[in-house]
Each structure stands twice: as C-alpha cells, then as structure tokens.
C-alpha cells in the first residue's frame, strides 16, 4: 500500500501567473468556484479575506500575492480548499488544471536558482514533456503568514 503511494502520487495541478504548480491531492479537501469574499481590514495583503464554506470560515490566501505577483481582483480564479493547522484555507489560484499522476522517479530537487521568494514553499520539481511542474508544500504556504507578520 505504502509502496504504491510512494511510486505514483497524485497531485492537484494549478496555474498561478503562467507557471504550473501542484500540491498533493491528499491535502486538498475540495476545489470551489469564487465565493463571496469578506476582505479583512488591516490584514496582510496575501490574505484576500474570508469565505463561508458551508458554515465554516475559510481564510483565502492569494498565491499570486504570496509569490509577489500582481493580483488583479477582477481575474477569474479558483479556490483550492486545504486543511491547515487551525482551520481551512483557500489557496486562490488562477486556474486548476488537472490531477497529475507523478511517479517518484521523475521528481527532482528544486534547483538553487529558483526564485528565493518562492523557494521556501517548494518541495520539488516534476519534469514532464509539457514542461515543469513545481510541487509545493501546502503546510509551508499556510505557515508563511506568521513569518511575514513579524517583519
């Protein structure tokens, strides 16, 4: 059982500002359409606001902002709901692409040359014919805020 998971893990692919990223599918609770967002005054700019997901409060994280990209609020987007340490988070991405089966052999460590602002979130890199997919660590994505707020 474990071996199967080790060999070929499923990832949820998504696009943010032209790049393709993925997080382990097991981390994803669901993917939802844009919802009514309540912005939070004075909050960090990566935090878009709060949404109501069937009675639970979800904190929306803009991955564009997190990766220091322009975040145009009019742009269509999707919410990838992941479970964090202290509640649900929504990773706001431009587009959810597909479920990608990734076998272990094709995963490489992230190159040192990767954008330093991004590096802390990157687990590894998956290379395939259509291009590179950056595999992210969702826990790190949600942790970031604490680090950011210190500054």
């Amino acid at each position: 059982m474990e071996i199967v998971q080790e060999e070929a893990r499923q990832y949820c692919g998504f696009r943010v500002a032209g790049e393709e990223y993925a997080i382990p599918v097991m981390e994803v609770q669901e993917v939802i359409k844009p919802q009514m967002v309540t912005p939070i005054p004075l909050a960090q700019e990566e935090i878009r606001g709060l949404i109501n997901l069937r009675g639970q409060i979800v904190t929306c994280l803009s991955l564009r902002k997190l990766f220091n990209q322009d975040d145009n609020l009019d742009r269509p987007y999707m919410n990838i709901i992941v479970k964090g340490q202290d509640g649900l988070f929504s990773l706001v991405v431009d587009e959810v692409t597909d479920i990608i089966d990734i076998d272990k052999q094709s995963i490489e460590n992230a190159p040192d040359t990767i954008n330093p602002g991004l590096r802390k979130y990157v687990d590894s890199i998956y290379k395939r014919d259509q291009g590179v997919v950056i595999l992210l660590n969702p826990k790190k994505l949600m942790e970031l805020d604490d680090i950011e707020e210190v500054k």
Binding site: P34, M36, P39, I40, P41, L50, I57, Y77, G84, D145
Partner: protein, 1000 residues
C-alpha cells in the same frame, strides 16, 4: 443551588468516588509501592471527607477522616499496605456506601454504626498496620473477631460479609436482576467482596480479574432481620453479629435479596431509588458536547439564512415552515447550551475547605458565605474561573482580612467574613467576592506601584481611588509585604485578570479602607453563541458583542458638529459631560479600500455564480448620508469610547468562529461569524480595538480630567477660553454656569429631599446642602420645581453641585446638556433680571449665563451672605468715586469683578492682560488694582514686579486674585509685590477688602 440539588451533586460525586476508591484499593494491594495510586486514593478520600463535612454529614466525615489518617501514614511510607489494612479500608468504604444510600433515601445518615470500624482504623494506625501479626494467614478472622467483640454492647451494629467460595454461584445468579448500568458502583463492590476471597486465599487474583466484570453484587449489607442473618450465617458459617435497628439492606446474594421483601421495615424500592440518581445521569465527554454545540451553531446559522430567505420570498408554506424551524432550533440551542451549564456552586463549595484550612493555620477566624450557588455557567468557563477565584479568595484570606487581634483593635467582630455572591446580570454572570477586612490602602498601593515602576508618581496623584485600586491588576504588582504560602507566590492579580479576560470576562475591584474589599468578576454565560449588534460601515458589516456595547448615539445634522470636539486630530464626543474618544470606523479600517476590494471580488463571483442560487453582496455604489452620525459607545475594561459607523442594523445571535492564527495578530477582531445572508462578518473586539487604535493607551474617558483641567487634553492655550456647563431648565431654555464652580453632577431622589423652613435641603457628603430652584429664583416660573416635582411625577432630579465659598449648593436643573469650551463674550445688554450675568453665544445658541453668586444671595441662606449684602449696601454710599483697574483676561471673571465693584459704586477700568494694565497705569491714576495671575502676554507676578520697579508705584495697592494658589505662589506673590492675594471665587471677601481699603 438549593440543598437538594447540592445533595444530589454530592451523592453522584461520592458514589463515583467510592467506586474509584474500591478499584484503586484493590489495585494498590497488588502493587503496594505505587505512590501515584496511593496519592490518588488519598485525594479521593480527602475530597469525600471535605464534601461530607461541608454538608454536615458527621458520621461520614468521621469515618473518612479515620481512613484518611491511615492512608496518610501509608503515604508517608510509615508502613506498607497489607491485607488487613485493605480489608478494613474496604469495610470503611462500604459503610460510606451505606451512609450515602441512607442520605439518598432518607435525607439523613441513617443509623449506620461506624464506631467499630473507626476503632479498627485507629487501631491499625497505632499498630502500624498490624492488627494481629500472629494470625496473618487468616486476617479475616481476626478482624471479624475483633469486631464481634467490640460490637457486643453496641445495640446497632453493622456487618461486612465475606463471601466464601460457595456464595459465588448465588452472586452470579443475582446478576440479571441488577441493572447493568450500575456496573461501576457494583463491580467495585463486587471486586471488594472478591478481594476478600483473595484475602482468604480461596481465590487467586487472576480468577478475580476474570470474574469481576460479570459479578454484580454488593457485599455490604445491613440486616435487621434474623432470617437474613441466618441465611448469611449459613453461607458464611462464621459471622455471628447481632444486628438490629432500622437499617437498609443491600442486595448481596440471592438469599439476601429475597429477604428484604419479607421485612416490612425495609424500603422495597431501594433499587429503584438507586437507579433514579445513578441512572438518570450519563457521563458525556465534554468533547462530544463541544461537537454538538458546533453543529448546533451551524444549524443556527442555517436557520438564520432560511428565515431571511423566507422573509424575502412570499411563500406561505415556506414561511410557516421556517417559523417552525426557527422555534425548534432556538429550543434545541438552549437545551444544548444547558447541557454545558453547571451550577457555579460546584466550585464554590470547594472553597469552604480552603478558607477553613487557612483560618486554622493563620490565627484568623473566617467564615465563608455563599449565595447564588445555583447560578449556571458554561462548563469550560467554570473551569476557567476556578483558579482566578482561588487566587482572589486566598488573597482575601491572607491580605484582606485582619488577624483576630487586629480586628479586636479596630472593634470588629473577631470572625472575618468572605461572601461569595453569584448572580445573573444583564446577560452575564457576576461573581462578587466581598470581604469585611481592612480594605485597600490607596496610599500603599500608589507607593508600591510607583516603586515597582508600574506607573509614574505624578500620574498617581491625578488618579481616582478606583484607578489606583485597579493598579493591583497591573503586571509586576503585589502588595504582599511578606510572602506566605497562601498568596504572594509570584502569581499576581494580573494573572487573574488575564485569565478572566481570556474568556471574555472582566474583573474590577472596589474597596473602602477599614470596611472591606469587593472583587467583581463578570463572566459571559457562554462563549459559543453570543448576542451581537450588527453595524455597517462603507457597506461592510461588522458584529459588536452586546457585552461591550454601552449605548448607541445618533446625532443628526448640526448636532453632530457641535457634539464632536476635535482636539489635536483626535475626535471626542461630548456625552453628558464626558469627553469620550470616538473613532471613525471608515477611516480607521480603511474601509473604502476594503469595500472596493469586496466589490471587485464580487464582480467576478457574480459572473460565475449561477443566478439565484446565492445572494449577492449587492454592493451598490457607496453612498452615505453624512448628515447623520451613528455612534456605538463601547466599553472595554471601563475604557469608554465611541465608534462612528454608517449604519446600525439589528442585534443577532452570532456564532463566534475563531480566526486562523495568521490573523490573530489583528487583535481588533475577536473572530468571524456567518450572517443570515451567508456573508462572513468580522467581530469587533472592543478591547483589541481600543488597544489597536490607541497604542499610547491615553484614550480613556476624560471624565476625571474634565472638572480639573479638561484643557490639558487639548493642549490649546486656554487662557482666553471660558468653560461653561450647559443645562436646560424646566422652562425649556438653555442656561450655563462656569464649569470652575461645578464640583459634581448628581441625581437626587425626590424622596431624599427634606425641608428646613421653606428651604429644601438634602444631605450631601454628610452635610446639609441647600437646593436651589433657578426657575423660582430667576422668576421664570412661579413655583419651585423642587416643591412641584412630586406632582409632576418626577422621582429623580438632576442637580449641579456648585461650591461657592466652600459651601455646596445644589442647583436643580432639568437636564445637563454639555460642556462648552469657547472664547465667549458676555453680552449683558439683554439682561432683565438679577441672577443672570448676560448672554453668551454658544454653538449658534443664545444661552443665559447664570450669576450664581447673585442666585445664592437671593436665597437668603445662612444669614451670612445676607448680612454681607447689607453692610455692603451701607458702604456703597461711602465709595466716593474711587477708581479701580481690573486686569483680567477671562471675560466671565472680568464681568463679574466689574459688576461687583461697580455695584458698590466704584469707577472701574479694565485691562485684558498685564501688558495692557501697565499701559493703563502709565496713563491713568488708579486707587487700587485688582489683577488675575494667569494671563497671556504678562502674568500677574510679572505685572506686579513691573508696577513696583518700572513704574515705581510702591504705594499702589495690588490685589491678586487667583482660583488656586499654593504657599509657594503666595510667597512668590509677596516677592513680586502683591499687597493682597485672595481667592478669586470669594467674591464677598474681595468686596469687603476693597471697601475696607478704599473707604478708610
């Protein structure tokens, strides 16, 4: 809690304790070195003893006390536990069980005999656990024999039966008749009986373990019937106790169980009764309750949404159903909440022991009085307030109450009292801890606080008593001079405060020196669902917990402008004489940006969301009517402030949802909630809000400052400004008096007014204070309002207490409006009567300024002022055209002084400041100069110096008037060249002095 509820609590707890004691005991025997187990056992017995003594169950207390002593020795490792000890202890707890049963059924301890077991325990204690060392292989016999001997002369005796192997089948056969839910209690008892088998060497431990869960029987039994006894004797073949008296029987074996039915004195419904208490309670993990609570929270939100939807859609059936859903949900919510509710008495009663132990150890007599123990609180909150309460009570015992000698010295009863009152008040539970001890010493606290660096010395002086007292909650503060083992262990009152605040409560202290101290804890009923006010600002909704809300103020049109004072960029609301800081939510939270963000985010969701399935934010273009100001006045830890919002909507029950950790740094939001329309709204946390907006923490109510020097807040050069207190009289018009003369604003109950002659008075600060009806004095209305108040149905009168010449006068007004700080010019052209100084123009209103001196004079009070008036009138003729220069910057005082002097008949010239005075003196000759001290350009001291030195007018009399002056000022004044230095407000002294000087 009424006594029966308390009794039930006690019974449930004690039955539980007993079963755990029995289990632990048997466990302990197998593992005698297990210290933890022994300690646990000791604690459990100790608790039982404590509760029993509290409820006054003497027997239970005595026997548990003996057991406790024995366990204590074991705990101290004086000797190890052995079978004898175990047996005796088990016997002891069986007796406890019987006593408890009796309490449950007859509300008293019954006639259970405890003496012999007690003696046995004591004997064990003396002999270090060896009852009969020689007969160790058969300890059972020896202990029973002992008992037999001792019980010979006891009319009532009580017996523990040991089961032999042959009784086991009977035990088993009895099992089906017992309710399985009693397993806990019973199996413990069964274990005990089996334990004895083991003790007798007839069964080994493994067999016991196998059997114990299935055996449902009680080994303890009291019989009054010889038949029963016989039966037992048959099976026992050994026991020959004589048993009599009215006692209960407990099911033990088939034989024992059938017999009670034949004995008329035994209550046949024992078993049913037992079920009633033990079975009607289910132990539920709090986590399960939490989960249920969460789900109910979801349901409440869903209900809100459905109700809101049905209100906007006219479908009869739907609205009917949603109404039903509404009712059911509310009911469910309150029931679920009630499962989490526990009477606060469950922790309060435990303090009884704390207090008693303390008083014994510390040469103090303290009684603890509890009221309102049945006040209910959420379970988690009860747990959360326990430690803070312990701390406060310890403090009260240790620091609050005096020793017996100290109390005798001050003539108090030698027994100090701590009274814990709990009650429901405005949606919160209030717990008051009142002691009648020495009270808090303001000076000591202040000195300590300064010493500890909690606060600066000059700030202390300005602080009110209650502010000083609340310093004890400051971190790093502890008044304990000596550290005792009870309090002062480095855990200060600040921890109490933080812990109480953590659960959304508050704590305050009040005290009177020598009389006592009162701590007041206010605790929310529950944390999960709270009533909140929904407000909207820039189309963004927020929830404000009702607990923080003091009042709502709505100001329309011009009202807003006049009521808001802008001082160095901060805004203050003048609210009944207080300057309350106010904040504009729109500006503070940058709500325009938030709104824009929400709007663009909504645009995108609108396109994607299917029509009709979800409601939209409906964010229209932001329009807001600026002419109306809505202010929510909030209270965070006695800091009052206002928040200006666009709209005030309704109150709603909201479910508080925590924010993720990354957002917790935003302390101004206490969480989020989901509104009826499905939107997420943030909850404004009043304390976090005020901390965020005023990091300098200076934004506190300006109440104290206002009477002293509200101008310090403003930092504006105030020498030209006049402060007036505006009020309305019963003629409906507005009047003003100088604020400097006002000492307090009071409400006076009509019933408290007494009459001396025609003068109404009240007792105020232990002295009679005359009440003045301005309407009558000024001739505005024919009758005094004070006299007519009863007819008019007024129960309380607003009263401005003014201090004139060291005396208090109460001026009755209809309504105190406001304080104005303005550069006013007094116009006396329209004055038509005595008592009005003139009119001033304040906030576009013409307001009559009251000449309070004239008003008081007109009352003909105390004889003195009247006498003065007469002498002055006499002197008036003597004032032969003398010329006086008045140097005064304040228009009000200038006018008053001029009026006074002109009234006597002098010619008066005025200068608005020292410089002008010098100029006037150069050009004119004056017989006398009266000068103010605090003036712009040239102050009074420098003015006098200049007169003496530059103008060389050494003979000219200079009278300085000031509102307050110290000895130092006086000295400085003499050095500067003042001839006289008088208090400004003592108008008559001034008049007399001037007349004496000039009329010689």
């Amino acid at each position: 809690m009424d006594s029966s509820a308390l009794k039930n609590e006690f019974l449930i707890e004690s039955f539980e304790n007993l079963s755990s004691i029995n289990e632990d005991l048997t466990q302990l025997e197998k593992d005698p070195e297990n210290k933890d187990l022994l300690n646990k056992l000791y604690r459990t017995v100790h608790t039982m003893k404590g509760s029993a003594s509290f409820l006054g169950y003497k027997k239970l207390q005595e026997i548990t006390h003996s057991a406790e002593n024995l366990l204590d020795e074991l705990r101290e490792e004086k000797f190890l536990i052995n079978t004898d000890i175990t047996d005796t202890l088990l016997e002891t707890f069986d007796i406890c069980h019987l006593i408890l049963k009796a309490i449950e059924e007859q509300d008293n301890e019954g006639e259970v005999a405890i003496e012999q077991t007690k003696q046995l325990l004591e004997k064990l204690l003396e002999s270090q656990g060896e009852v009969n060392p020689s007969s160790k292989p058969e300890p059972e016999v020896s202990s029973t024999t002992q008992k037999d001997v001792e019980s010979e002369d006891s009319e009532l005796s009580e017996l523990i039966f040991e089961h032999r192997g042959n009784s086991l089948p009977e035990t088993d056969s009895a099992a089906p008749t017992e309710d399985s839910s009693e397993e806990d209690e019973l199996s413990a008892a069964a274990l005990e009986s089996l334990k004895e088998l083991v003790g007798d060497g007839k069964m080994d431990a493994s067999v016991l373990n196998e059997l114990s869960p299935d055996v449902k029987a009680e080994s303890a039994m009291k019989v009054e019937d010889d038949h029963v006894q016989q039966e037992v004797e048959e099976s026992e073949g050994k026991v020959d106790d004589q048993v009599s008296g009215e006692t209960q029987t407990q099911a033990l074996s088939k034989s024992a169980e059938t017999k009670p039915a034949e004995t008329p004195k035994v209550n046949p419904v024992i078993d049913d009764n037992r079920k009633s208490i033990a079975d009607s309670f289910v132990r539920v993990n709090v986590k399960v309750l939490d989960k249920i609570m969460n789900i109910v929270g979801e349901l409440v939100l869903n209900r809100n949404q459905i109700v809101q939807y049905s209100n906007s859609h006219s479908a009869q059936e739907l609205s009917k159903l949603s109404q039903q859903l509404n009712i059911i949900t509310s009911e469910l919510q309150s029931e679920v909440m009630s499962t989490r509710m526990q009477p606060i008495g469950s922790i309060l009663t435990k303090f009884e022991r704390l207090v008693r132990d303390f008083s014994r150890e510390n040469n103090k007599k303290i009684s603890l009085k509890l009221t309102g123990q049945d006040t209910e609180l959420d379970k988690t909150l009860i747990e959360a307030i326990k430690d803070p309460l312990v701390h406060i009570i310890r403090n009260a015992c240790d620091h609050g109450l005096e020793t017996i000698e100290e109390r005798a010295q001050v003539g108090k009863k030698d027994e100090g009292m701590i009274h814990i009152k709990s009650y429901n008040e405005s949606g919160q539970v209030t717990v008051e801890i009142v002691d009648n001890g020495r009270g808090l010493n303001r000076d000591k606290i202040a000195a300590k606080a300064v010493e500890k660096g909690v606060i600066s010395a000059d700030r202390v002086e300005k602080m009110s008593d209650s502010q000083i007292f609340s310093l004890i909650f400051a971190p790093g503060f502890s008044t304990a001079e000596k550290i005792t083992n009870i309090s002062g262990r480095g855990v200060g009152m600040d921890v109490v405060k933080t812990n109480i605040e953590k659960i959304g409560g508050s704590v305050s202290v009040s005290s009177e020196l020598g009389v006592g101290t009162t701590f007041k804890l206010r605790i929310p009923l529950t944390l999960a669902i709270v009533p909140a006010l929904i407000i909207k600002s820039h189309q963004v909704s927020f929830a404000i917990p009702q607990l923080n809300l003091v009042e709502l103020v709505r100001l329309e049109n011009s009202e807003g402008e006049s009521a808001l004072e802008k001082i160095q960029g901060s805004e203050f609301l003048k609210l009944r004489g207080n300057l309350t800081p106010v904040f504009r939510l729109n500006d503070l939270l940058n709500l325009k940006e938030v709104f824009d963000k929400a709007k663009s985010l909504e645009e995108i969701s609108k396109d994607i969301l299917e029509e009709g399935t979800t409601e939209h934010l409906n964010l229209e273009k932001y329009t807001h009517d600026d002419s109306v100001l809505n202010i929510a006045i909030l209270n965070a830890e006695d800091r009052i402030f206002g928040v200006i919002v666009d709209e005030i909507l309704d109150t709603e029950e909201i479910v508080v949802k925590p924010l993720s950790n990354s957002l917790k740094q935003l302390s101004l939001f206490g969480g989020a909630t989901i509104m009826g329309d499905g939107k997420v709204a943030l909850i404004l946390d009043a304390l976090g809000f005020i901390n965020t907006v005023s990091s300098s923490s200076e934004a506190k109510s300006a109440k104290e400052e206002i009477a002293v020097d509200s101008l310090d807040i403003s930092g504006v050069d105030h020498t030209e400004l006049q402060e007036n207190l505006l009020f309305k009289l019963y003629d409906g018009r507005e009047y003003a008096v100088p604020l400097s003369l006002v000492s307090r604003l009071e409400e006076i109950s009509v019933d408290s007014i007494q009459m001396t002659g025609n003068q109404p008075i009240v007792r105020y600060l232990n002295a009679p204070m005359p009440l003045i009806s301005l309407e009558k004095t000024l001739g505005l209305m024919p009758d005094s309002i004070i006299m007519k108040s009863k007819e008019m149905g007024i129960t309380d009168l607003s009263c401005i207490v003014m201090t004139v010449q060291g005396k208090n006068y109460g001026v009755i007004v209809k309504e105190v409006l406001d304080i104005s700080i303005d550069n006013v010019s007094i116009d006396d052209s329209a004055v038509d009567r005595e008592g009005i100084l003139g009119t001033v123009f304040i906030h576009d209103n013409t307001i009559s300024l009251i000449d309070i001196y004239a008003v008081i004079e007109a009352q003909n009070l105390g004889g003195m002022s009247a006498k003065l008036k007469k002498t002055r009138e006499k002197n008036q003729s003597l004032a032969k055209a003398k010329k006086i220069l008045v140097v005064e910057d304040s228009p009000m005082y200038r006018k008053m002084e001029v009026d006074l002097l002109e009234g006597i008949g002098y010619e008066v010239d005025v200068a608005h400041h020292g410089e002008e005075g010098i100029e006037k003196l150069k050009n004119n000759n004056y017989d006398l100069v009266i000068t103010d001290i605090e003036m712009p350009h040239l102050n009074g001291f420098d003015f006098a110096k200049k007169v003496r030195q530059e103008l060389q007018k050494d003979d000219l009399t200079i009278i300085a008037l000031s509102t307050r002056f110290s000895e130092e000022d006086k000295k400085k004044g003499i050095e500067s060249g003042f001839s006289y230095h008088l208090e400004k407000l003592k108008k008559h002294e001034v008049a007399d002095l001037v007349m004496n000087l000039l009329n010689k």
